[in-house]
């Protein structure tokens, strides 16, 4: 690893740790820092509600780190695979499938706060995502080129959107608002169990991305050259669909559809890190995405929830994308 890349990676890790701590300390409920560290250390606290508040903040922070990192990595993989810097985790339609599943539950009238409401919407979201995933994996066998897969994914996005529109038409005002608010994205409210399953759905596929390092490196030259250096294209495609699909779908189900992180972070990192070796890129992109995630959550909490998560990620992400696209005209080859 080049020295500069190593330093950058370490800086990111430090920044993430710092921001997580800040996120634990600040908040509407004033808790003295000493009490926070005591609670983290496992001691009891004078005020019985403080441990719950600290735990809530900790869960949010971990969610932000996992979600930001996971989305960024998914975006990176898909951008290389489709040779398109605008590709994001949602491009295959798996996140739309998750949204549709959740939409059926919420717009269909089962409130998120009802007894099994929260659990039900997670299950429905996963079913929606897995259905799309299964469809993609099935179709992948008959597809020869990446462009075909991209078009299929985009059509699935439109299709699920159309179905959700029908649900909107028949839903009442309360449920509509509930679903809209869900769509604004949030790292809030994951229980320990939720956090554990989100972590599994993000970290395990991320570890599996180890097997994508060589294929992704090879794919930088395009599928023909990649095949000539030994990349098994069909297998690689299936693995990519699986890994990005599971990561993106689980994040969508637990946090709502989060935009911009998956597109902006890989582009930013590839401008800063010079090596095209995905062994390093995947790691650094995860860290950068995690950093963006925790920063966004910090900003959301600093504005006392006035700005929804997706607005913050857009405000950070859109300028990055615009800047990169302008550079794109100068550097990138035709794809």
């Amino acid at each position: 690893m080049a020295k500069a890349d190593k330093i950058f990676g370490i800086l990111l890790m430090l920044a993430i740790t710092l921001f997580v701590f800040v996120n634990l300390i600040i908040g509407e409920a004033e808790i003295p820092n000493s009490a926070i560290f005591a609670i983290l250390g496992g001691d009891a606290s004078d005020n019985p509600v403080w441990p719950y508040i600290v735990e809530n903040r900790l869960h949010r922070s971990i969610t932000a780190v996992l979600a930001g990192g996971g989305l960024a990595v998914s975006g990176l993989i898909l951008q290389v695979f489709f040779r398109n810097p605008l590709a994001g985790p949602g491009v295959l339609g798996v996140t739309s499938g998750a949204s549709l599943g959740v939409g059926v539950v919420i717009l269909g009238g089962i409130s998120l706060s009802a007894q099994y409401g929260a659990w039900l919407h997670i299950v429905a979201g996963l079913i929606g995502a897995l259905s799309v995933l299964a469809l993609l994996m099935f179709l992948s066998q008959f597809i020869r080129s990446a462009i075909t897969l991209l078009v299929i994914g985009l059509m699935l996005v439109f299709l699920t959107s159309a179905i959700i529109d029908v649900l909107y038409l028949w839903a009442n005002e309360t449920n509509t608002r509930s679903f809209v608010v869900w769509g604004l994205g949030s790292f809030e409210g994951l229980s320990q169990l939720d956090l554990l399953s989100l972590a599994s759905f993000v970290i395990i596929p991320f570890a599996g991305a180890l097997f994508l390092v060589k294929p992704l490196n090879a794919l930088l030259l395009g599928p023909d050259y990649a095949a000539s250096v030994g990349t098994k294209l069909k297998q690689t495609r299936l693995l990519i669909i699986c890994i990005t699909g599971i990561i993106a779908a689980s994040i969508t189900v637990y946090c709502g559809p989060i935009s911009f992180i998956g597109i902006a972070v890989p582009q930013l990192v590839r401008r800063i890190i010079r090596t095209p070796n995905h062994a390093i890129l995947l790691l650094i992109v995860f860290l950068a995405g995690a950093f963006l995630g925790i920063s966004a959550d910090l900003i959301v909490r600093l504005t006392a929830n006035l700005l929804p998560l997706n607005t913050v990620t857009a405000l950070i992400g859109a300028p990055v994308i615009i800047w990169t696209i302008i550079k794109l005209n100068k550097s990138y080859a035709q794809v």
Binding site: G27, A29, V49, Y52, I53, N56
Partner: protein
Amino acid sequence: MKMIKSFPIILSILLLLGGCIDHTNDQVDFDNQGPMNSIRTELKIDFAQGFELIYQDQNVKIKTNSFDENTVWRDSMAVIYNTSVENYKKAIQPSKNLRFACQSSTHLSFLKALGAEDNLCGLCGVEYVTNPDLKEKIEENEVVEICQGEGLMQEAILTAQPDIYLRYPFQSDFDPEDIAINSLYIAEYLEKTPLARLEWIKLFGVLIGKEAEAAQYFDDISMEYISLKKNTENFNQTFIMNLPYQDDWYMPASNSLVVNLMGDAGLNYFYAADNGTENILHPKEAVWSDGGKADYWIIIAARPADFNLNQLIAEDPAYKTFKSVKEKKVIFCNTATVPYFTTGVLEPNVMLNDLRFATGQLMNHQPIYFQLLE
């Protein structure tokens, strides 16, 4: 001497017997009070701010309007007794058989209290109806669905052929008057007190020519409500309301109907200091931190029928630290099983008693709307 001693007893017995005289014959026979071509009773509006009755000649004009800064709207309907309807821009002739279409099931409850539910010909949200008689009418197409989601459907309402369509002032569709259907904005929900909201029954009474009945209904209930209210003046315990959604905890504004209802039951709002007419918003952890110290916690929400305190705590273990949860002083109204939005509007006295019973100010009562969560 013996006669004099027993005299008070005999007198009391006579008086008691006299008090038990059947008064049913004294009830005014509204149905046979003469032809529908004159106003029988001029009604006074004491509490409600959202509507007015203006009496002119033999007719009455109903005016409904907004009265706080958040929205601005107005509407009116003339109720004509002795001239032709054509002389007025918006007018109906009162009739016990007036065909109604309603956007809201709450409005339907007002009509039901006046015995006019058979006049319904169209409703929004037919699939949410639980009442078996009404369901039957729907199946036989005597009452039809007139909305899709939140919007009014032209063909459907034309099929229903109502004489008047009662709606909320936020439905942003075409004007029913454009297809020759009379409509009137009814905004009872904007009132700030339960009695003001109940007083709208007088408006419905005017529409169907049953003003005296409506006035009687209102007087009975409001008198009871006001006297019950006096009993709670010294109670003074604090309360918070509702549940959070993700990180946001919304509660009603301090001058809102439900908060005033609680106030009438002797409960003081924990967030009374937050001024304004909009809902109050606090981040969840702020409410955990200070709101958790309130004596009572009132929750009005939809839950499964057997919802209990443990299930509430399961929704978020932080609730265990709330004073109200520890002392089992969580008062719950299950909107999924109880007609809080419909019949409840017509019975604020029952709601008040439910609250007095739940807070230990009343013994021996069978609660309908609000109950302590076990």
